[in-house]
């Protein structure tokens, strides 16, 4: 299959699905559900195909910059052959889109994006299955759902800053409606809060993009074209030239940071998340926690750090401290909740703190070894959290469907009534807690390790947070599953459909904990390491004076260490 | 020749007339008076145009009479404006039985 077809259909298939769903005649709601599920499944299948090509083909897993450089930009629709200018099988395509401003239709995949793409495919398929209980305006729901999936996929595919921004913005609207129409009682408030927070955040991102495009107006040294939205070229410029001076990088970094921290979310931009989660219907909560938050993390790792490495270095301590604070704050806030869903929402904030911390723990002394641990950990945390949080929200939804309450104090003793549900929940909750052997542990250990080598204080605090996490998770398990409670003893256990939804996530939680290397890191961390390398070079080039106090010699890079 | 009266006199006169008109528009509340004030402003501009034409050197290729022609056009337009204005004022008068512009307030915000 040609790259053009593959990469385009990745985001176009769900979009077509949205159109098809709208064309289904009224009254055939079952058909709508089948069609939507079919299209989502096709999306997952395509993502898996892309992953297989990426892992299996040497042309595809070469560094992104090399692959991008091999491509001639073709103005379209001038070329008769769709693939003209492409190098087939390297998973990068680019076409002119708005030539007046040098904006391109530029898609590409590397280890970072392909992993998140597969996560998107998986979570959206499961969320689609979880939506079978929706009865209100089914066609509209599924159309918006598929539109959301299409735009999220597009975000992970885009390599043109402008295209990225377009997909990023398109995500907002379906999400707004999905919360505002199908949500709980306070849905309007939650939806508008989500919309405005994210809109404000995206303005920051747009300003940063425009600065990168226009600064300082003439061509930089080294043969790069000025006025470009090309992420790959800008990354190379940032890491290999001093084109963007330190002052401007500080600004760009802060703008990107604020924009993506809103999405992530991190303290102090997190307040929309608990509201949105509590009000959103269960499948949308799954998408929100499982994929949408990752868009923020992806923006950090793909744009904020690589495009402004020196700025990132200048701000690293502040950001790392923010990450640690988010971890602690999220955990403490989770502990104080009595609403099951709100608890899970705050745990998301806490977990996303690890992503921030892992990115910001920029100990660059003696090479970028420990820093690579941190960023790998951050990426792994995104995947692990994508799996566990989607599962947690689903499990909360299951209990809410049956008991019609999310009040932790009135729940209890569910283990007796629903043993299968209990067993699955234990695995997921422990995975989220970071029990060794489950997926969360791998991520946390990487991040904490990097944090220790960056700043002992922050490292200790981050490690201490693990205790808090264990605290609220175990306490929740105790309150929900253990003990005896006559009220709930007749609740039915999971249905077959629910098991089908939860099982893959449970299995992944275990597999990702036991086989992190062959399953994910093998193909993901080379890309991550390249990002780290670029950031390290860029900040070394632009930063004045000693980079960091030399504590010890750096370890070998993660990819090579194994 | 025109040296008897300097150009600036005409301009000062026009400025004074224009200011009178502007003050009238801003201060008067009677719609008819406002209409008259607008006419004064238009005519002040006419004085300017004719004076500039009489004292200035026309740019080559611009033709000999642009200022006067412009003034004539303005007079025509002003007439049309008065007709429309009176029509609208009458319409409002029929509704409110008043020509006071402050009385017309069906909308706000």
């Amino acid at each position: 299959m040609s790259d053009y077809l593959l990469l385009t259909s990745l985001w176009l298939v769900p979009l077509i699905g949205a159109g098809v769903v709208l064309c289904v005649p009224k009254g055939s709601e079952r058909l709508v559900k089948y069609v939507a599920t079919g299209f989502t499944a096709a999306g997952l299948l395509l993502a898996l195909v892309a992953l297989a090509i990426y892992v299996g083909d040497d042309r595809a897993n070469a560094p992104l910059a090399e692959r991008a450089a091999a491509i001639r930009v073709v103005s379209w629709p001038a070329s008769e052959a769709m693939g003209a200018g492409d190098v087939d099988g390297n998973l990068v395509i680019r076409r002119d889109w708005i030539p007046a401003f040098n904006i391109q239709y530029y898609l590409g995949l590397d280890g970072i994006s392909v992993s998140l793409l597969v996560l998107t495919g998986l979570v959206s398929l499961l969320a689609c299955l979880a939506s079978w209980g929706i009865e209100k305006q089914v066609r509209g729901y599924y159309a918006l759902f598929l539109l959301l999936v299409a735009s999220m996929t597009g975000v992970f595919l885009a390599l043109d800053l402008f295209l990225f921004y377009v997909f990023f913005e398109v995500m907002l609207l379906p999400m707004y409606f999905l919360i505002a129409v199908w949500g709980g009682e306070e849905r309007e408030y939650a939806a508008i809060k989500f919309l405005l927070y994210t809109l404000f955040g995206s303005v920051f991102i747009l300003v940063a993009i425009l600065i990168l495009y226009f600064w300082p107006g003439d061509a930089p040294a080294g043969g790069f074209q000025a006025g470009t939205f090309d992420v790959v070229a800008l990354t190379t410029i940032a890491s290999t030239t001093g084109y963007y001076g330190r002052w401007i990088q500080d600004w760009v970094f802060v703008l990107f940071l604020v924009g993506f921290l809103v999405k992530l979310p991190s303290f102090p931009f997190h307040t929309w998340l608990p509201d949105a989660h509590v009000q959103a219907p269960t499948p949308i909560s799954m998408i929100l926690a499982g994929v949408l938050l990752k868009v923020g993390g992806y923006g950090l790792i793909r744009l904020a750090w690589p495009l402004a490495p020196a700025g990132a270095f200048d701000w690293s301590y502040v950001v790392a401290a923010l990450g640690v604070f988010s971890i602690l704050y999220g955990a403490l806030a989770a502990m104080a909740q009595t609403d099951f869903k709100k608890l899970v929402a705050y745990s998301s904030i806490s977990h996303m703190g690890y992503v921030t911390l892992g990115m910001a723990a920029m100990n660059l002394a003696g090479g970028s070894g420990y820093y690579a641990y941190g960023v790998n950990g951050a990426m792994y945390m995104m995947l692990a959290h994508g799996v566990t949080s989607a599962a947690m929200f689903f499990l909360v939804g299951v209990i809410y469907d049956r008991a019609h309450t999310r009040d932790l104090d009135s729940l209890g003793g569910l283990n007796d009534a629903m043993p299968v549900y209990g067993a699955m929940s234990y695995v997921i909750f422990f995975g989220s807690m970071g029990l060794p052997g489950l997926c969360g542990f791998v991520a946390e250990i990487f991040v904490v390790l990097a944090a220790f080598h960056y700043s002992v204080t922050l490292g200790v605090l981050a490690a201490a947070a693990v205790v808090l996490t264990a605290g609220y998770i175990l306490w929740t398990i105790q309150r929900v599953f253990l003990g005896r409670n006559e009220t709930w003893k007749d609740l039915p256990d999971l249905t077959a459909r629910e098991i089908v939804i939860a099982a893959p996530l449970v299995v992944l939680t275990v597999l990702m904990g036991v086989f992190p290397q062959p399953l994910v890191l093998r193909w993901m961390s080379p890309s991550v390491d390249r990002v780290v390398q670029g950031v390290a070079e860029g900040s070394a080039r632009n930063a004045a004076g000693p980079m960091a106090e030399s504590r010890d010699a750096g370890p070998p890079q993660v990819a090579r260490a194994r | 020749m025109a040296n008897d009266i300097p150009l600036s006199w005409f301009l000062y006169f026009a400025a004074a007339a224009f200011a009178t008109g502007l003050v009238g528009v801003l201060l008067r509340r009677n719609a008819i008076a406002v209409l008259m004030a607008i006419e004064i402003m238009l005519n002040a501009a006419n004085v300017n145009l004719v004076a500039f034409w009489r004292y200035g050197t026309p740019a080559p290729g611009a033709g000999p009479l642009p200022g006067v022609i412009l003034a004539l056009l303005v007079i025509t337009v002003a007439a049309a404006e008065v007709a429309v204005g009176i029509g609208l004022i009458l319409l409002c008068y029929r509704r409110w039985r008043a020509v006071d512009v402050d009385r017309y307030e069906t909308m706000s915000g």
Binding site: P99, A100, F101, V166, E169, L172, L173, Y176, A180, V181, E188, I192, L195, L196, L199, F200, V203, V207, L210, F214, G217 | F18, L22, V25, V34, M41, L42, A45, N48, L49, F52, G56, P58, A59, P60, G61, A62, G63, P66, G67, I69, L70, L73, V74, V77, E81, V84, G85, L88, I89, L91, C92, R95, W96, V101, Y104, E105, T106, M107, G109
Partner: protein, 573 residues
């Protein structure tokens, strides 16, 4: 010395065929209404007169499209034009200056494109007007719409101040009357009178400023004014009292016409009071024409005064326009937040949009892309106009079924008319500026032109202006989303809700949606077209005008670059 160097050519009338056709058709409509349709019952009479008007608009549109075809052929394939039209006509149409009637009017591609735009919008507005009964004087009403459009077309084509003034007055006088046409509502009469007073005061201010420009330069032709001012000596605001007064007065005049803060007070009342189709025409056609001519006057004629000392707050109109733009978009958006009335909200939103467009006007004068930068403004205008025609068709719908125009009247529309509700969502999103709809690309193009400039003192200030504009678009989301909320999150009233929209309402909404979506997903063709026509539009030069500079060469004068008109610029790399 000859009275005028340019010969009058009767063939010039061919090139204003759309305007001529529309003027005559206005009379036809009035006569036909009086003679044939008056005795019919109200409903069928309205439809019949509307249909007759639409036929005229269609004829004019056809002539405009034909002219567009001829003019683009003259540019791209002259021999073919020779074969089609014969030698003499072909050479007439491929005359490089394209100015007609003694150089007072422009013709050629820019004019053709704008005429097509005006006539398409007019077609939609006329169609909307047949949606409901708001007046008995149908013939006069439609004739006024047609004649207002004649004013707009001539205004956008004018190359000379007297022509500009006449066209401007033609347009606005017709619109004053049309606003007062809703006989059953006192507020309509009030809107007409308010519009008249504010409009004619602004005309007087503009005319007074115009007289000074004439006095300073001795000419009324845009191009000649530009040449004279380009020689230096009249530094605008700081140069002398007269120049400064002229500049400020003209700015105030245009400020009123485009509803820029602080000259906006008429807009909300007029938009609310006038019948919905008239509001639509004031918000779109009149605004587009005013902005086009503002671009011409300020970039072409007064271009040398834009920023002579290369500092933003130095003498020149750039700084004033920047301040106006900032005030306009901020005030418009903040005031719109408080509105519960749909038409009033659209009025404030259109004030805010005027602010964004003023950013574009400022940007076009400093952008390193040259006159093409004004293409961003034109693109914005097109997109804005279509989105607003659609939005005001919704207002007509409300007026028809609810006899009101509160946003709350839209409650539950998503249930009763799901397809049109989706269209309205698209229109609102485009107005907010959410990708992938055209409004976003319009805003972006303007902002990017504002940032695309050489290193100078204006750079940082314009960057802040752009940042302000971006945050303003977020603020605007608040009130546009209110419309979406009403349609999707509220229940429709059990009785007296909106009925099914007939074609008069549905067609404008759907057409606007299609345009806004298509120009968003594939923005390049329209953007390129607009950039291509921006240069000839802003540099139209009379053939003998070189004599003006040659006759009086000022020592050390820096001649402004005089590109030949009619070149389609290739895309800048």
């Amino acid at each position: 010395m000859p009275v005028n160097a340019l010969p009058m050519d009767l063939r010039d009338f061919l090139r204003v065929a759309p305007a001529v056709l529309l003027s005559a058709w206005g009379l036809v409509v009035v006569a036909a209404d009086l003679a044939r349709y008056r005795r019919r019952d109200a409903e069928s009479r309205r439809l019949a007169v509307g249909r007759l008007t639409l036929i005229g608009v269609g004829l004019a549109l056809a002539s405009a499209v034909a002219l567009f075809g001829i003019d683009s052929l003259a540019q791209s394939d002259a021999p073919r034009l020779d074969r089609l039209l014969g030698e003499s006509f072909a050479s007439y149409f491929s005359r490089p200056d394209g100015l007609i009637f003694f150089g007072t009017l422009a013709s050629g591609l820019p004019t053709d494109v704008l005429n097509v735009l005006f006539l398409t919008l007019l077609g939609l507005v006329v169609w909307t007007s047949t949606a409901y009964a708001f007046t008995d004087d149908l013939g006069e009403y439609f004739a006024l719409l047609l004649w207002a459009t004649v004013g707009m077309m001539l205004l956008a084509a004018s190359e000379e101040l007297a022509t500009l003034f006449i066209a401007l007055e033609t347009m606005t006088i017709c619109l004053y009357l049309a606003s007062a046409f809703e006989k059953s509502k006192p507020r309509s009469a009030e809107a007409g009178l308010k519009y008249f007073i504010y409009g004619s005061v602004s005309s007087a201010l503009f005319l007074y400023g115009l007289s000074f420009v004439y006095g300073l330069t001795g000419t009324t032709y845009f191009d000649a004014i530009g040449r004279v001012l380009g020689r230096g000596g009249h530094e605008g605001l700081a140069g002398n009292l007269v120049g400064g007064a002229a500049l400020l007065l003209m700015l105030v005049g245009f400020g009123f016409k485009v509803a820029a803060v602080p000259f906006h007070m008429w807009a909300p009342d007029v938009y609310e009071g006038a019948p919905a189709p008239v509001s639509a025409w004031i918000a779109t056609g009149s605004k587009v024409a005013s902005f086009v001519v503002m671009l011409k006057v300020f970039l072409h004629a007064l271009g040398p005064w834009s920023n002579p000392s290369n500092e933003l707050m130095g003498p020149g109109w750039l700084g004033v326009v920047v301040v106006l733009a900032a005030a306009t978009m901020t005030y418009g958006n903040l005031a719109a937040l408080a509105q519960r009335n749909y038409k009033r909200m659209l009025a404030y939103s259109s004030i805010a949009h005027a602010g964004y467009i003023l950013v574009g006007v400022a940007a076009a004068s400093v952008s390193t892309a040259g006159p093409e930068a004004a293409g961003a403004v034109l693109y914005y205008l097109v997109v804005y106009a279509f989105a607003n025609v659609g939005a005001f068709a919704v207002a007509a719908w409300l007026a028809r079924d609810r006899d009101g125009d509160a946003i709350a009247d839209l409650d539950g529309l998503a249930r009763t008319s799901p397809a049109l509700a989706v269209c309205i969502v698209v229109l609102m999103l485009s107005l907010i500026g959410v990708p992938p709809f055209a409004g976003f690309f319009g805003k972006l193009a303007i902002f990017m032109e504002a940032l695309r400039q050489g290193p100078s003192g204006t750079r940082i200030v314009l960057a802040w202006l752009v940042a302000l504009g971006l945050f303003n678009s977020v603020v605007s989301a608040f009130y546009y989303v209110r419309v979406l909320k009403a349609m999707y999150l509220r229940e429709a009233p059990s009785v007296g809700g909106l009925q099914r929209a007939k074609s008069a309402i549905a067609v404008p909404i759907v057409v606007a949606t299609v345009v806004v979506t298509a120009c968003g997903i594939v923005p390049s063709p329209l953007m390129d077209l607009m950039r291509a026509i921006a240069r000839p539009m802003l540099t139209a030069t009379t053939l003998d005008a070189t004599a003006v500079t040659d006759a009086t060469p000022a020592a050390g004068a820096t001649a402004r670059p005089r590109p030949v008109a009619w070149t389609t610029p290739s895309r800048p790399e």
